[in-house]
Symmetry: C2
Subunit: 324 residues, 2 copies
C-alpha cells in the first residue's frame, strides 16, 4: 500500500487542530479537540494519540497510507530530540515533555515537531502567501511577535534553535522594555499589546479631537482592533498609532530583506487582520529601508491561511521528515 | 589518479591571489599577480588561465589531481551562470563577462564563482574564526561594508542573489545618506569612510581638547586608522567616534544574531585591524541588543585570515562545487 497522506497537528493552548492532507497539501479531513490543560497538561499527549487513532479508524484510513505526523507546538521545542519544555499555556513546566517518543509509540507513526511560529511559517510558505517559493520570511503579529525563516524550502534553526525570532529584533534602541529583558524589540511595537501601548503613549501627548483618545481617557478597554477600526474611520490619533506600527514593521521588513533577500515577507497573526490598510503603510516604509535590488524582488504580503497555517506547516514537517 | 587539490583565486582590483590547497584547506602553494585593468580589463581572464596553467606545470601537478577552481570576484556575480558584471575596479562594464566558461575552457577544470565578500565569509567560516561551524555570519569593514551568511556550511544567496548584504542594513533611520540611495545604512557608520564621517561630524560639535579635532581643524587627512590609534591613546573625541562605530556594529550584530542565531559573527576587513580594542566595545553593545538565548550562543569574533580569507573561501567553493 502506498504512503500518500500527511497528518498535521497544531497544538495550542485552547484547541488542538488536526488535518489529514495529501502529499501536495490538499486538506481532506480536519477536526479539532479542546486542549485539556488539567493535571499539569498530562492528558494532552494521550488525547492527541487517541484522537489520531480514532479518526484514522473513522475515515477507514490504514496507517500504511500515512507518511507521518507533523506538529507545531508552543514553548521551547527541541526539534531534534522531539521534546517540548516551558509551554506554560499547556501547563507544561521547564522539564522537557517527551512528545515525539510518546506519540510515535502511541500511533506507530513517525513524528516531526517544531515550534508553532515555525510551523505556521512553513504552512504559509507552502500553501499560502509564499506560493511555495523557496526563500520566505514569516512574521506573525499576535499577543507577541513570532516568525520563521524558510531557506531552500526548509526552516532555518540556527546554531541553537532560535533563528527566526524576529519579534526580538531591536527596532528602537532604548525603546519600550520587552518581556525578554531587552529594550525596543519589534514585539513591543507590532503585537496586539504593542499597538495598545503606542496608543496610550501617543494619547498622553495629544490634545486634539479623537475618539481613540476619548476611549483611553474614559478608561475603556482599548484593543488593537479598535485602534485599526478607528484609524479606518479617519481618527487622527489612531492613524498616528498605525503610522508608528507600520514604521517599525516596514523597518524590520527592510532589514530582513537586505539580509536574507527572500522572495516574500508574509505578515500574519491577529494584528494582520487590519489587512491591506496596514500592509500599504508597511510597504511604504519598507521601500525607505530596503536596499534597491531587494525593493522589487522581495514582496510584502498578507498571510492567507489564517488559523490553518499551523496544520498545513505541520503536514509539510511530516513530509520533509520522510525525505530526511 | 586521485583528485585531491583545490585551487582558490581571489580576484581583486590591484592583485589576483592564487592558492593551491588540500581538500582539508591546507595551503601548499600560493602566489599572486598584478591585476591588469588595461583594455577594459580584457587581459584579466586570460592572465588567470595562463597563471594557473603555468603554476601547475611549475609544481608538476597534473590536472587530474585538481578537484576544481573556486573564485571570489568583485562586482555583481551571477554564481549560477558564472558571469560577472559591473566590476568597475576591474574596468568591467555593465555587460556580463563570461568568467566561468572562459576559465573552464582555458584550464579544462570546473570553476565555481561567488562575490568577494561571500568568498571571504566562506574562508573565515571554514579555516578562520568560524572554526568550521555550520552557522556563521561574516561582516567585512573596508571601504564599504560587505558580508556573507553561511547556513549549514553553505553560502545563502536568497531569492535573487543579494542575501548577506549586511552593509545596507539600516541601523539609523534617516541617518547618513548612503551610496545605495537609502539613509542610515551600516556601511555609512562602520566602513573606513564612515568612521571618518562620524569623526568629522562629532568634531564640529566638540569644543574640548583633542588631537583628533586638531587634525580635522587643520585640514589634515584623517583615516579610520588614525581615529582608532588616537582612541587607544585616550583622545576623548576619538573615543566618542569609536563608541558610535561600536554602537552601530553591536546593534547590527544583535539583529543578525536574533534573526539567524549563528554560532559566530566574524568581523573582518581593514577597519577590524583595530582589533580587540574595537571588539570589546562591539561586544558590550551586542549584549544590549541580543535576545537572551543568543547572547551566549553567538560569539562576536575577529577575523583571523586577513588577506588569505578570499582564497581559502574560493577553495571551499571549488570543493562544494564538486559535491553538488
Amino acid at each position: 500500500m502506498q504512503k500518500d497522506k500527511l497528518i498535521g497537528v497544531d497544538l495550542g493552548g485552547t484547541t488542538i487542530k488536526f488535518a489529514i492532507m495529501t502529499e501536495a497539501g490538499e486538506i481532506q479531513q480536519k477536526w479539532s479537540i479542546r486542549t485539556n490543560v488539567l493535571d499539569d497538561g498530562s492528558h494532552i499527549v494521550p488525547d492527541i494519540i487517541q484522537s489520531i487513532n480514532h479518526h484514522l479508524d473513522l475515515y477507514d484510513l490504514p496507517k500504511e497510507r500515512i507518511i507521518g505526523i507533523g506538529m507545531g507546538a508552543p514553548g521551547t521545542v527541541d526539534f531534534e530530540n522531539g521534546t517540548v519544555r516551558a509551554a506554560y499555556n499547556l501547563n507544561w513546566k521547564e522539564t522537557p515533555v517527551e512528545v515525539k517518543s510518546q506519540i510515535e509509540a502511541g500511533t506507530g507513526l513517525p513524528l516531526a515537531i517544531d515550534n508553532d511560529a515555525n510551523s505556521a511559517a512553513l504552512g504559509e510558505q507552502w500553501r499560502g502567501a509564499g506560493e511555495n517559493a523557496q526563500e520566505v520570511v514569516f512574521i506573525t503579529l499576535g499577543t507577541g511577535v513570532g516568525g520563521g525563516i524558510i531557506h531552500e524550502g526548509h526552516l532555518m534553526h540556527g546554531a541553537t534553535g532560535t533563528a527566526g525570532e524576529v519579534g526580538h529584533m531591536v527596532v528602537k534602541p532604548h525603546g519600550y522594555l520587552c518581556t525578554c529583558g531587552n529594550e525596543g524589540c519589534l514585539e513591543q511595537y507590532a503585537s496586539a499589546t504593542g499597538v495598545v501601548h503606542i496608543a496610550q503613549d501617543l494619547s498622553e501627548e495629544y490634545v486634539g479631537n479623537s475618539k481613540l483618545k476619548a476611549l483611553i481617557d474614559d478608561g475603556e478597554e482599548v484593543t488593537s482592533k479598535i485602534v485599526f477600526d478607528l484609524a479606518k474611520e479617519d481618527d487622527y490619533l489612531a492613524n498616528k498609532v498605525v503610522d508608528e506600527v507600520a514604521f517599525y514593521l516596514g523597518y524590520a521588513a527592510g532589514i530582513l530583506a537586505n539580509t536574507l533577500n527572500p522572495s516574500a515577507i508574509v505578515i500574519g497573526g491577529g494584528v494582520s487582520a487590519a489587512g491591506q490598510f496596514l500592509l500599504n503603510r508597511v510597504q511604504a516604509n519598507f521601500e525607505q529601508f530596503a536596499f534597491a535590488p531587494v525593493r522589487k524582488s522581495t514582496a510584502i504580503k498578507l498571510a492567507v491561511l489564517g488559523n490553518d497555517a499551523g496544520a498545513y506547516g505541520a503536514g509539510l514537517l511530516a513530509k520533509q521528515n520522510q525525505a530526511s
